[in-house]
Symmetry: C2
Subunit: 724 residues, 2 copies
């Protein structure tokens, strides 16, 4: 595998092989839909590998178990040059480019057939950021040393399948599921339309496409596909250009068939270039808020933009009933589900740069509150309990007991994100309209989850797995207990605030939720009496960490691939090693609560024991190290996170897609770490912590609705411009 070329606004691959890796890296999305970065004309080994996902579009594969649905493939284009299939030609001078500025992916290469006929090929593709229902592909073909026939065809193919990839790290699923039924195809003069329904819930999808290009066009349709074929004559040295413009809609938008029909009409009067220009303008607007400029290291510059770019591609802008999965729309891993990854790792990027997007992500959680209430009931608890793995309605999708039942910090993580969002934006309307209800209901869950031990007058948190998933199932996990305590205090504060500020709304909410005033007293009693352990300045991770067996990490781990491939989870949990930060994780989220000595003690104790077997680990370590002034460590960890997928650090980018939490952690490490940004007591503050080699960093953030432009130059006091 040749390394990618990373320049400030471009990611390039010169390697025509290693397809799966490139398909992940060059994944495209506009938040509404996403496709893996396969070359339009390259067929997949199996219909499940070429995937097209729509945000929030899930379907049941078993009772209670959903999968992110693989949609009919609208990207396919095949062509025969002088009668021979392009896939049988030899590829040379291959260059695949991603333009981060506008999301355009280009494949440029030469094809040579057995007779020595050479053809210069360019394929371009983008999903529109201006109209999320649209996508376009353009094929340019130049016969270098021949003239002859072209037969190019493409359409929509519903013969796709799903391969539900679950949460189990060790079991590989091999059962494919056909999701579509009731497929209807409608051939049209230069294109066609396909509608279909999912098998169980009858969820509708509609897609249409339109071809343009010199030649004679013919459309055929069968039960599960519709295809248009262009026959044309190619002349040596002349470039033939064809376009395929696509429209997509689903039941989530309304009447999908009608929407797509209308869009098809619009597509007639436009071109690839016009659509691209509109999309690029939309990207430009987002980049204006989201960009981080780094002067002094072009590879870092390109990489931080790639991280941000993928976050933007994954964000379902304007859709408050969807969130961002652990692999975005780039892979079916984890069945496309939403984890704490969204609120803790990605949401800060949006909260600082695009507060409306952050709000939308939290509104998704508010919309799934009814399911969280149901979930709490199933766990025989009051209130609401968010699922470790959530899909459309929020119902628990995690099947393993140790995570699904025990990794309960997700509920406090979401509460934390609510607080962070409201503090950053000052959006009290959100807190009034749904935030307080969420905090109230979820706070109730902890009352049943903590165990009061009267002999000690303390509340223990039993049988819990913290963020360090190698901790076993333990008690009084520092991260979970701290987060739950903050959650309880925050919920009590929100109720007090609402009672005072919006007494009428509060009366309605109190009635709706059956709130009793003594509830907050109980919450504060728990918050005051949780069990957190320390030895001197060192906060202990949990009740069992001291009992674990030391492991010589160097002797066992020789690269960044997760050690659980070599040593079973069951054994790893009894070694004194961390999969990812736990105590340091909490310190990363709430730095104001700890003295420097405490953070240093935690770093010195836990960092050498951390395996970074989760992609959630590097960025957080970079952030904490940058804040501590541990420059070398900070750079080391930042580079792991910055290039996590670009350099295939975990060796699973090909097989699992883009790690969206790491994207967010990278942004946090860059901006909150090296970029020195913090909010303390409601005041925005910036420190100069630029790492070596970086001359200047620029970024924009919102605070309380006001845009701030920050410039940090080497050895200078940071500049904060308030842009009003």
């Amino acid at each position: 595998m040749r390394e990618l070329r990373i320049t400030p606004w471009r990611i390039e691959s010169l390697d025509p092989d290693d397809r799966s890796f490139r398909e992940s890296i060059f994944s495209q999305g506009n938040g509404y839909m996403g496709t893996r970065g396969y070359r339009p004309d390259q067929r997949g080994a199996h219909p499940a590998w070429r995937s097209t996902f729509l945000a929030g579009f899930y379907e049941y594969v078993k009772p209670g178990i959903t999968d992110l649905v693989n949609h009919p493939d609208f990207s396919g284009i095949q062509f025969r040059l002088n009668g021979t299939d392009s896939e049988s030609h030899t590829v040379s001078d291959f260059l695949q480019t991603l333009d981060l500025r506008c999301g355009l992916v280009t494949w440029a290469y030469n094809l040579t057939d057995r007779a020595g006929n050479q053809t210069r090929v360019k394929q371009e593709k983008f999903l529109s950021m201006a109209d999320r229902h649209l996508a376009a592909i353009r094929v340019s073909l130049t016969p270098v040393n021949w003239s002859g026939t072209l037969e190019l065809s493409g359409g929509i193919d519903a013969r796709v399948e799903n391969l539900p990839v679950s949460d189990d790290q060790l079991t590989e699923n091999v059962e494919f599921v056909k999701m579509w039924s009731d497929v209807r195809t409608e051939p049209r003069p230069a294109g066609g339309q396909l509608t279909a329904q999912t098998r169980i819930s009858h969820r509708q999808i509609a897609q249409s496409y339109l071809f343009s290009g010199k030649g004679s066009l013919k459309t055929e349709a069968a039960d599960e596909w519709v295809t248009t074929t262009i026959n044309a004559r190619l002349s040596q040295g002349m470039t033939w250009v064809g376009e395929k413009r696509i429209a997509v809609a689903s039941f989530r938008d309304g009447d999908a068939g009608e929407i797509v029909k209308e869009k098809s009409e619009e597509l007639k009067d436009t071109t690839f270039d016009e659509l691209l220009t509109e999309s690029a303008l939309a990207w430009e607007k987002i980049w204006k808020q989201a960009d981080v400029q780094l002067i002094g290291n072009d590879e870092w510059q390109g990489a931080i933009r790639y991280n941000i770019f993928q976050l933007i591609q994954a964000m379902p802008y304007g859709d408050t009933h969807a969130s961002i999965g652990a692999r975005g729309l780039t892979h079916g891993r984890y069945k496309g589900c939403y984890f704490w990854d969204t609120e803790i790792f990605m949401l800060p990027f949006f909260a600082y740069t695009q507060p409306n997007a952050a709000k939308s992500l939290l509104q998704y959680r508010c919309h799934t509150l009814p399911d969280a209430v149901e979930s709490a009931k199933r766990f025989s608890a009051k209130g609401a309990r968010f699922s470790w793995m959530a899909s459309d309605t929020g119902f628990e999708q995690c099947g393993t007991w140790d995570t699904g039942c025990c990794e309960i910090h997700i509920t406090a993580d979401i509460a934390h994100a609510v607080r962070q969002y409201v503090e950053l934006t000052g959006d009290e309307a959100f807190l009034r309209d749904c935030g307080t209800e969420l905090l109230l209901q979820t706070a109730r869950y902890w009352v049943d989850r903590f165990n009061y031990v009267s002999a000690e007058d303390q509340y223990h948190l039993l049988f819990v797995k913290g963020p360090d998933e190698y901790c076993g199932v333990t008690c009084d996990d520092f991260y979970t207990v701290s987060m739950a305590r903050d959650h309880l205090e925050q919920a009590a504060a929100a109720i007090k605030w609402m009672e005072k500020t919006y007494p009428e709304d509060w009366t309605v909410l109190a009635e709706k939720t059956g709130f009793q005033p003594e509830e907050t007293e109980k919450w504060m009693d728990i918050a005051a009496k949780v069990v957190l352990r320390r030895r001197g300045e060192l906060w202990k991770q949990d009740a069992t960490f001291d009992l674990l067996e030391p492991l010589d990490i160097q002797a066992h781990k020789d690269d960044d691939a997760p050690l659980y491939h070599k040593i079973g989870f069951d054994r790893l949990q009894r070694y004194q090693v961390l999969k990812q930060p736990a105590v340091l994780m909490y310190m990363a989220l709430c730095p104001e609560k700890f003295s420097k000595v405490e953070v240093e003690a935690a770093w010195n104790y836990y960092e050498p024991k951390t395996l970074h077997d989760s992609t959630l680990s590097f960025g957080i370590h970079a952030l904490v190290a940058a804040r501590l002034g541990y420059e070398e460590k900070a750079v080391h960890y930042l580079e792991k996170s910055l290039f996590l997928d670009l350099k295939n650090v975990m060796k699973n980018t090909a097989g699992e897609g883009i790690h969206t939490a790491s994207l967010g952690a990278t942004w946090q490490a860059m901006v909150l770490g090296f970029g020195g940004l913090s909010i303390c007591n409601g005041v925005l503050n910036v420190e100069n912590r630029l790492p070596p080699g970086i001359e200047e960093m620029r970024y924009r953030v919102f605070h309380k609705g006001i845009p701030h432009r920050i410039t940090i130059r080497k050895n200078q006091k940071p500049e904060i411009f308030v842009e009003i």
Copy 2:
């Protein structure tokens, strides 16, 4: 539901409804095969409900996941009386009888059709205990007030399916799996033969049947079934009798088709009555050793015999590659798998009354040792680790983390059974030939499983679930730690013994296993430094029990149905309640290690907190209570265990089949509890602990190969006759 009538040698039902319950209760088996107790002419709601199992015959339903295979149905018989289907007639005067002495089940009833024609029907069925491949059914029909035609048909039907019912207590599977392919049918003059192979592993089954009865016979065959039809004339007041004699063999016996063909020839020259007589003789021999006679309470007498009877039916005599599943051959629950239920609950019955059967059960474990070694490797441990749920090869079939990974006492339980068997029988050849290897390999597992904490110079057992499955996942579980300690000591002792007694065999074994002398030192070091907690005379269950929340049991549990149907497992584990005994369980197994004060302290503390949500609970409580002289409690718990299925105590006998562990626990409570039997320092001892209402108890046991006949009469010194 009308209660069953229980007399000393018979179980009777007068209730023609409540089919599923009767199908469980009247399940028939001969250790080789088992069928649920459905009436031959009554069709099931679904092909998976009418089940026919062969011991040790499993097949894959998914990679790595097996199910006990539902075999082609050989029991079916349909008849039309004067042209109308018997299933459309009204049933009256129904009596179903199980003769415990010989395993014969009889259904006797009247049928009345719409025209008022009455027919007296008797159906009889047994599986032969003399030749395990044979079964027979007899139908007797007497027209009371009519004469006319009979059309009776029956054969073998391979249109059966499996419904793999897993270990998850809360999820119901609804996915049926067809297991059979390559079905071949061969019609013969008065019967037919069917062979088939399982779909994945091509495991062969062959069945044949032969009809006899007055009338004209005709056999038809189709792809998946073969059926013989008898047309006869019935005359008022005259009884028509027909017989169906069946032979079954599988790949596990050799060439199944050939075996069955030979058996078919034999079946020609015999009759139902002759086969029954032979089978009854075989039963008589077993009863001679296994019977427990109780004078003074006929219902108890019938019930204890029913418990013993079902144990015998489930025992795969002579088959060292099969064991007894948690529901025997009476239901597909737990995919027919083997648990600690066999070694800890059932094996004592066999070890005392039929030592060869006990040996066979242990040999099954020896045969699966290679898989246990593989399993340990998958858990990154040395040695051998037995699976919580095992099927044919021993591979782990339990899919839940908290049980499959954490309920590790099974390995020590099997070691305990080896010791008990050898102590009881003096069978040193077993210890030499395979027992020591088993002990050695499994002892090694504990070395990796315990965590040495150097600061304490102690070994902790982390992240473990004890027998009380409501304990969460905890540390230093008293039962598991004690059993593992005993296991380590026992393994060291076995090696010492073998080295001294069979030095040549030992040299071979030491070489084969790569044994190093320092290994036993390590074992003894662990055994000496495990962590067991106590407060005064009270042994503590585990590290977290004291932190659990008290529960008002009376307020939540109003019958014997498990509370986990009302309160989720996740919540239950944080209440200070036990599902089943844990500290008391160990005390039940090793009474000699505790003072009476200690047992009383454990009883007084744990018994009121125990929910008995496992059928493994009642019998053990009865045993401990009997030993403590808590007569009322002992009787209370014995009756729960004794009538567990007969009175549907847990309300799941219909849906799950016969609870085999409870059968064994009942025997232990009766013989080791009320029957006062113990072996102490190699000496057999009997105390008189007869409960009120029992005038006399008689049973036979083997000790060191010598049969002992014990008689205990009220207020008299027990009599022990050595029968040489």
